[in-house]
């Protein structure tokens, strides 16, 4: 009974700073004087060669008559040609700045719609010279969002619309070599958590305790604790704190300064305690989410460590941007807190979020709807959302349910796509095996089974 129990040392993994990839997300000088057009221009400039090479590869041999038309306006009627440009979705229900102005004059407020789709939507292809409307079976059946750089093969019809026969995207980017070999030691895992929702209505404190005990290796028998020691990193993908809903009470007189009865610090403190527990044992990367105290525009800047006074002293705590490029043991990860997919969800009829995430990999762009409907910083010289390389693990947080898929690319790239559910509602996290890229869930429950 009194013998010192065997201790296990947590496995370590090398991390490397991905340099430019991660740097791109950090907004250094916040200058809002520029237009968003620069962002679109950069996107087109950077992606066009990629799409073009894919298009040529696909179509140049197919039909000897098809040729690439440099400018969209130069399209000739009746000729089969292919164009490369940015998609623009004309949607009646999309939030429009002109609607906002009319709202100022007329009090009719449009309710927030879950989807902008409508039967009258149309798809345009734009480049620097002009735009052309796309029609065809391929257009009505596929999902498109504004901002994707795409190549289309077809011809112009009498109406001036471009009838599309085939489409192509940039495809999955090149991927770093996956260097992990099978060794005698057991595989390492990373834990992906999202949507802790501390302070929200469905926050369950005991589940959070179980999670921290699981991640720190306190819970479970020796076997489980040994396997827990294989978790080398934890990524928290957004929405850790929920700001309490303030109901505007018109009868109360307005007080200057913050109203103490509605502002609570408890969620941040609970989160700080939780993080401190976990950080004392394992490396944690914290990403900001929609509800977290971070910037409202994408890419969200790291949560300031001043909010987490006891956690920030740990060398294992890292506050990172959203989206986030990371690298663990040469395995590249790309993570987002969900805003990108949530926005794409509004554009398409499909409910399959996993499919949308997989599509973003094919488009080689993680947030095409920025800046159209997804608030974004007006970058002038770069588009940081382009996925210049294909990550090994691509996770999106705060989705409705857990889903995962292994997407393979033309050159043998393998990307594990993981949709993480919100922990507050499902008490589920995901573990991804770094070597095999296999993924499974761990869920916690305190309610009786029956």
């Amino acid at each position: 009974m009194e013998t010192d129990p065997a201790t296990v040392n947590r496995r370590t993994a090398t991390t490397e700073d991905l340099g430019a990839l991660q740097e791109n997300f950090v907004v250094k000088a916040r200058d809002y004087k520029q237009q968003y057009a620069h962002l679109y221009f950069m996107r087109l400039m950077l992606m066009r060669p990629l799409v073009l090479s894919q298009a040529m590869h696909k179509w140049a041999s197919l039909d000897p008559k098809a040729k690439h038309v440099e400018k969209i306006l130069d399209v000739q009627q009746g000729e089969i040609s292919y164009l490369v440009g940015t998609i623009y979705m004309e949607m009646k229900l999309k939030p429009n700045i002109l609607d906002d102005i009319t709202k100022d004059h007329w009090i009719a407020a449009q309710p927030d719609r879950p989807k902008y789709t409508d039967d009258t939507d149309s798809v345009y292809l734009e480049d620097e010279s002009g735009r052309v409307k796309l029609t065809g079976v391929k257009i009505t059946n596929n999902l498109f969002v504004t901002g994707v750089v795409m190549g289309v093969l077809g011809s112009e019809d009498t109406n001036g619309d471009f009838k599309v026969v085939d489409i192509c995207y940039a495809g999955q980017g090149p991927q770093q070599q996956h260097t992990l070999m099978e060794t005698d030691e057991s595989d390492k895992y990373i834990a992906l958590v999202s949507g802790l929702g501390i302070g929200g209505n469905d926050f369950k404190p005991l589940e959070l305790d179980l999670l921290s005990e699981y991640l720190t290796g306190e819970i479970g028998g020796v076997k489980e604790q040994t396997s827990c020691a294989n978790i080398v990193r934890v990524m928290i993908a957004g929405n850790s704190i929920v700001t309490p809903q303030v109901v505007e009470d018109d009868t109360k007189t307005k007080k200057y300064g913050y109203d103490r009865s509605t502002f609570v610090t408890a969620p941040t403190m609970i989160f700080d305690n939780f993080l401190q527990e976990v950080c004392s044992s394992v490396d944690v990367d914290l990403m900001a989410g929609d509800n977290d105290p971070s910037s409202a525009t994408m890419p969200q800047q790291p949560i300031h460590p001043a909010l987490l006074p006891s956690t920030r002293q740990y060398s294992t705590f890292h506050s990172v941007t959203n989206p986030y490029w990371g690298s663990v043991d040469n395995v590249t990860l790309l993570g987002g807190s969900g805003q990108t997919i949530d926005d794409i969800y509004k554009y398409v009829n499909s409910e399959n979020r996993l499919e949308m995430a997989a599509k973003t990999i094919e488009w080689r762009h993680m947030a095409p709807t920025a800046p159209d409907t997804l608030w974004c910083y007006p970058f002038k010289d770069r588009d940081p959302f382009i996925m210049t390389q294909a990550p090994h693990i691509y996770f999106i947080g705060n989705q409705d349910k857990f889903a995962t898929k292994l997407v393979t690319g033309a050159d043998g790239q393998r990307t594990r796509v993981v949709m993480l559910p919100s922990f507050a509602s499902t008490a589920t996290i995901a573990l991804v095996n770094l070597r095999t890229l296999e993924c499974h869930t761990v869920s916690f429950s305190t309610k009786p089974k029956n």
């Binding site: 991660q22 250094k28 005991l206 005990e213 479970g220 827990c228 920030r312 869930t441 305190t446």
Partner: protein, 534 residues
């Protein structure tokens, strides 16, 4: 251990009717979590049978997908649940006096457990250890990607692992405190970092410079302690100290003017950090009090700097030479007093340090806090405590007094906050009169001269001897003072002419001014007018 655990469990679950989780038990007894689980299981089957109810943690794994499902079940359900083939493990999670309806209240016990573990090494309880975790109060280190955008410079992780505990321990406390809040607005001088392992931006110059002087004090104090600190920082200290003191002064005078309720209290936190570099709690306190703390420290250190110059050097020389005889009792006592100024709340550590420095060989009674400190004799301790109290009150009053004028002075751009003394190198005169003079000129041209400093005052102390006899002695105490005088606006022409002369005069150095306060004891404003106008 087992018996103790059983007793604890009985008390808590049966008598107090409280719930117990394995985490709480491990923190209470200081044992590993696995041992705690075993103990609880034993309790449930032997002593607490039928008196307590157990909740179990159950782990199931789906063999097909690999998904794990961890849940908490009551002991009744455990039997049936165990029959499930997918169960991979279970153990007791908590003990309750009666079955719980809602398990969420166990979370409160877990929070209590977290409270219990504060200040202790977490590896005491954990089975899975991570040796790469470095906890340091100075570990405010933005992520690499943001380091260029952040205004705060990255601090090295090895803050906790430095060689001199006295030096580095206090330093992280200060570093974190200063880096946490927004940069001080009033800092002026460029940074002279005294420790090559830390970098700070110019906006924090006041704080690091202050730290430099503070560090030098601590470095020497603990270096003089000779038993603890490594000699490494001390050679760096003298050189750094002088340069930092110079740069520090103008900012210090500005900082002095900020309101602080108890200057000494703040520094006590810093003193605690050498002892508890790994303890988060005390570092937390540092950061919580950071703004005021920094002010206090700066204010205090400016004063101390003036005193400590030769006191510390003397004591250092003494310890270096190994001569511990109380040759210079007075300076030693002064040093101790100043040390006490800094270590109000946590006397233990610093007492031990400074006491060791003295090592008069006298073994005295106990500390005010009841902990044993080797060296102080009873009457010396009592005397020192009284002085400390007096000083504390004096400082407090001084701070309160200064408040109204200081705020105005801060805001007023035109006010000439000339810290005359500070600009000159402080000559090592007898540390009786070490004053700083600040002048504020308001709109009408009225100069309010405030003289602050520490001066020697003879006081009578009565105390009880070891044998119970009353002993009275005269002790020279260094007491901070602050004296004001208001000089009416001089006529412009003479003022202009006399200004360069007065600058020349006032820049003569400490001696001329130090003669001033003495003479003007009787409120001889005319005499001071002489100095200021000419």
């Amino acid at each position: 251990m087992e018996h103790q655990a059983m007793e604890l469990l009985t008390t808590r679950v049966e008598d107090e009717k409280q719930n117990v989780t394995y985490k709480w038990l491990s923190r209470s007894l200081g044992i590993s979590v696995n041992t705690a689980k075993e103990l609880m299981q034993v309790y449930l089957t032997t002593v607490g049978k039928n008196k307590a109810h157990g909740t179990y943690y159950l782990a199931r794994q789906d063999p097909a997908t690999g998904n794990q499902h961890l849940s908490l079940v009551s002991q009744e359900e455990l039997k049936t649940a165990q029959k499930d083939a997918s169960v991979v493990g279970y153990h007791i999670y908590s003990l309750e006096p009666s079955p719980l309806k809602d398990l969420a209240i166990l979370s409160a016990i877990n929070s209590e457990a977290t409270q219990l573990q504060k200040g202790k090494d977490i590896n005491l309880y954990r089975v899975v250890r991570n040796h790469h975790v470095v906890i340091s109060a100075s570990n405010y280190r933005p992520t690499p990607a943001t380091s260029s955008s952040s205004a705060f410079a990255a601090k090295p992780k090895a803050g906790a692992a430095q060689s001199a505990p006295g030096l580095s321990g206090a330093k992280p406390g200060l570093n974190s405190a200063s880096s946490a809040p927004a940069a001080a607005a009033s800092s002026t001088s460029s940074t002279t970092t005294t420790n090559d392992t830390s970098k700070t931006t110019t906006s924090k110059s006041a704080a690091p410079a202050a730290k430099g002087s503070m560090m030098s004090f601590f470095g020497k104090a603990s270096g003089a302690g000779a038993t603890k600190a490594a000699s490494a920082p001390t050679p760096a200290k003298p050189a750094a100290k002088t340069s930092s003191t110079l740069n520090f002064k103008p900012a210090a005078s500005a900082q002095q003017k900020r309101k602080a309720d108890l200057m000494t209290g703040a520094v006590a936190d810093d003193m605690s950090s050498p002892r508890a570099t790994r303890s988060n709690e005390e570092s937390e306190e540092d950061e919580v009090d950071s703004e005021e703390e920094r002010d206090r420290r700066l204010a205090l250190s400016s004063r101390l700097d003036q005193d400590q110059g030769d006191i510390v050097e003397k004591s250092q020389n003494k310890s270096a030479s190994g001569n511990h005889s109380p040759v210079d009792v007075e300076s030693i006592k002064k040093k101790q007093r100043s040390a006490r100024l800094l270590a109000v709340d946590d006397d233990d550590d610093l007492d031990a340090d400074t006491a060791r420095a003295v090592t008069t060989g006298r073994r005295g009674g106990d500390d005010d806090d009841g902990e044993s400190v080797e060296v102080m004799s009873k009457e010396a301790r009592a005397a020192l405590n009284k002085e400390k109290e007096a000083q504390r009150l004096a400082l407090e009053n001084m701070m309160l007094m200064d408040d109204t004028t200081t705020m105005a002075a801060l805001e007023d751009e035109d006010s000439a906050m000339i810290d005359v003394e500070a600009l000159d190198p402080v000559p090592p005169v007898a540390d009786h009169e070490r004053t700083t003079v600040t002048e504020t000129t308001d709109a009408l041209g009225t100069i309010t001269r405030r003289r602050r400093g520490v001066r020697a005052v003879t006081k009578r102390k009565t105390s009880r001897n070891e044998r119970g006899y009353m002993v009275t002695e005269d002790i020279v105490v260094m007491e901070p003072f602050s004296e004001d005088e208001i000089i009416e606006a001089p006529a412009p022409a003479p003022a202009r002419i006399e200004k360069p002369v007065s600058d020349a005069v006032s820049s003569k150095g400490n001696k001329s001014e130090s003669g001033g306060p003495k003479k003007k004891a009787g409120g001889n404003q005319s005499l001071l007018n002489f100095f200021s106008k000419k």
